[in-house]
């Protein structure tokens, strides 16, 4: 048949090739946005104490007066070599910031994903299966509420309510474990320091919930509506007509078909998680990249900001690519 379509491998290769122009556009955007934003680190740190000539000299030293194409070329080189530049304010490699603080951000977003999945998937499935029941109405209401409340509101409220009892009040104990993965909780597990693991986990609960609340509503609503839709599918009635058991009809036929669009939307939520993580880390003083980013923004350190934002953007591109791969694995029709 002519519809005998391409292989999975060809799909993956094509998808990767298509990501390249996407990344280039993204880099241009980040670069332009950084140049459009007002101020620069030199005038910010010196607060108008420098005269015009001296300011120009400093700007020249930092390369800020170089022509745009030169600056863009340097930026591209820094991205290709994966070093993303050196910060202006404290002369760190952006790559080191990513490595040292990335683990904490990863832990936090993972915790948020776990929270959203544990609550969102069962509630969404129940709400879809038992449409218009109490759990459906309650789930939908909770979904809208959690989605509508921003992190800057949810996080302080959680702190007020549970901050004292959750271990958030005490500072994170100084860990005496060797750094191997830069992910604290994993490092602690490797050496078997279970007190440290417990302490980190304890500190992780509230920020994970605060961040997870941002996406749990989308989880619930997406899973619910897609399960309802796929349960109305013609192939569902056909399966029932063959006497397939109801558990298999819902679990095998409806659920898998419902997951395809759900996975796509959840992939897009990762971008939301990253921006949410910046605020969450700030509010809970969680030592991730996001907190660093805010510090650098305050110092107008655009090299650092540009580097970190570039990494965030690349992460989103890679994740959306992975999501497409997963969908292609589930759905045989997803091929070029």
């Amino acid at each position: 048949m002519s519809k005998q379509s391409g292989s999975l491998r060809r799909y993956i290769l094509t998808r990767i090739a298509l990501a390249i122009p996407m990344v280039l556009i993204l880099l241009v955007l980040v670069f332009v946005l950084m140049r459009v934003a007002p101020g620069d680190p030199i005038s910010a740190s010196q607060g108008g104490k420098l005269n015009a000539a001296e300011l120009a000299a400093r700007r020249h030293a930092a390369g800020f007066d170089a022509p745009m194409y030169q600056q863009f070329w340097d930026y591209l080189k820094s991205v290709v070599t994966l070093n993303f530049g050196t910060t202006f304010s404290d002369h760190r490699q952006v790559r080191d910031i990513i490595i040292e603080n990335g683990g904490a951000t990863l832990t936090l977003t993972f915790g948020a994903l776990v929270f959203a999945s544990v609550i969102g998937i069962p509630v969404g499935l129940l709400a879809g299966r038992l449409r218009d029941s109490t759990i459906d109405v309650a789930g939908r209401l909770f979904g809208i509420l959690s989605y509508a409340v921003p992190v800057i509101v949810a996080a302080p409220m959680l702190m007020l309510a549970f901050g004292a009892t959750s271990g958030q009040a005490s500072p994170l104990v100084q860990l005496n474990v060797p750094t191997q993965t830069h992910i604290l909780i994993v490092d602690a597990m490797i050496v078997g320091d279970w007190d440290a693991v417990g302490d980190i986990a304890n500190h992780l609960v509230l920020p994970s919930i605060a961040l997870g609340l941002l996406i749990v509503g989308v989880f619930i609503r997406m899973i619910r509506i897609n399960l309802i839709q796929s349960l109305q599918g013609d192939y569902i009635e056909a399966a029932r007509a063959r006497g397939v058991k109801e558990t298999a009809v819902v679990g095998r036929h409806a659920f898998r078909n419902a997951m395809v669009p759900v996975i796509t939307v959840l992939g897009l939520q990762v971008a939301m998680l990253l921006s949410g993580a910046v605020l969450t880390e700030r509010i809970f003083t969680w030592p991730g990249i996001g907190r660093q980013l805010i510090d650098y923004i305050n110092q107008r350190d655009y090299v650092a900001v540009q580097g970190i934002v570039t990494v965030f953007a690349l992460v989103v591109v890679v994740i959306s690519m992975l999501i497409d791969f997963i969908n292609a694995l589930i759905d045989p029709r997803v091929r070029y």
């Binding site: 048949m1 005998q4 379509s5 192939y235 009635e237 056909a238 007509a241 063959r242 006497g243 036929h253």
Partner: protein
């Protein structure tokens, strides 16, 4: 005469809506014997598909079903399918009751291979079969429908509409049900594939003694493939009998009009029945066809017609035949009841304007 595989008695399927219950199927009775094909014809919206699903217990959960559907197959054992627990019904669907659908394109799960569809259905009803036996039976059923074994691991989207319909039929037949409802199985397909599918269905009853209810718009298919025919209008069966007899000598005015409306190569002018099937929430009083009937009498719009058995064995639900069989019935129409019903003219004039 052999005992019927399926006896439907006074079956009613009602949908609750905000405006009131929709009487999609309203007191329908028929029998289907082993190896027999019953054609079910009528306009869109007259309750054919609802009847087919109601018989298999597949009516939507919002519908209420009442009456008797007695199944006399291997697993049925004279049980009434109406009111049977969902779990019991699930076990009968497949090995005893089959359903073939109108639109084959969307009836296969797009994420599952053809093999998975077959092995799931077979495994559900035959736990004792080994993986190899499942495979052999599935491939045999597919081969019977002209699908080569090399396509066994393909996905649904890799097949054409006609092939998918043959796969759907194979999927229904692999469990060898005694009774199958085919709900317009060829409507979505072109004429060549249509002929092929009809041939397959005809072979089926010869080879396996399968009973079939064939729902269709196409009167040509009924004449070709059915032993008996039931004509449905607005939730009722209005005429039922031997297919040749009904087509050669239609009795009910609706059947006559339906046959006149058939398009063939020799058709010179197009005929249609003015108006459309009635609202099933508030169906017309008396005979439901009376507002559109060219020979309706005053009394038809007031008193529901009785079912009479004509000398040919054909059942008809119409006052004209009732009075023919027993002239004393005319009294039930009341004084002036046999005057022509003028309303028909108004409707047809308005429709043509």
């Amino acid at each position: 005469m052999t005992e019927p595989v399926l006896s439907v008695r006074d079956l009613r399927v009602w949908y609750g809506t905000e405006r009131g219950p929709v009487r999609a199927v309203d007191g329908v009775s028929f029998d289907v014997r082993p190896g027999e094909t019953l054609g079910l014809v009528g306009e869109s919206g007259c309750g054919k598909s609802t009847l087919g699903r109601g018989v298999l217990g597949l009516a939507p959960t919002v519908a209420s079903v009442d009456g008797e559907v007695i199944l006399n197959s291997k697993g049925g054992k004279g049980r009434n399918l109406v009111g049977l627990p969902a779990k019991e019904l699930q076990k009968l669907r497949g090995p005893d009751l089959g359903l073939i659908f109108q639109e084959p394109m969307t009836r296969l799960n797009p994420l599952m291979r053809i093999s998975q569809h077959f092995e799931e259905a077979l495994h559900t009803h035959h736990k004792d079969l080994s993986k190899n036996e499942l495979r052999e039976r599935a491939i045999e059923a597919l081969r019977g429908m002209g699908i080569p074994a090399s396509r066994y691991e393909s996905y649904p989207h890799e097949f054409s509409g006609g092939m998918r319909q043959r796969i759907m039929i194979a999927l229904a037949l692999v469990l060898r049900p005694a009774f199958i409802v085919a709900d317009e199985p060829t409507t979505a397909l072109d004429v060549l594939v249509e002929a092929q599918i009809i041939k397959i269905l005809a072979d089926l009853r010869k080879n396996f003694d399968t009973s079939l209810v064939l729902i269709t718009h196409n009167l040509g298919i009924v004449a070709e493939a059915c032993d008996r025919v039931a004509v449905m209008y607005a939730g009722h069966i209005v005429e039922q009998g031997d297919a040749r007899e009904v087509f050669a000598n239609p009795q009910h005015p609706y059947t006559k009009e339906l046959l006149r409306s058939t398009i063939s190569l020799s058709t010179t002018g197009l005929h249609f029945i003015p108006g459309s099937p009635p609202d099933l929430v508030h169906p017309p009083e008396g005979c439901r066809f009376s507002p559109r009937c060219p020979v309706a009498m005053q009394g038809c719009a007031k008193v529901e017609p009785p079912e009479v058995v004509l000398p040919s064995g054909v059942h008809s639900v119409c006052w004209q035949q009732a009075i023919e069989v027993d002239p004393s019935m005319a009294d039930e129409l009341g004084t002036g009841g046999r005057e022509p019903l003028a309303a028909v003219k108004e409707i047809s004039v308005a429709d043509e304007a």
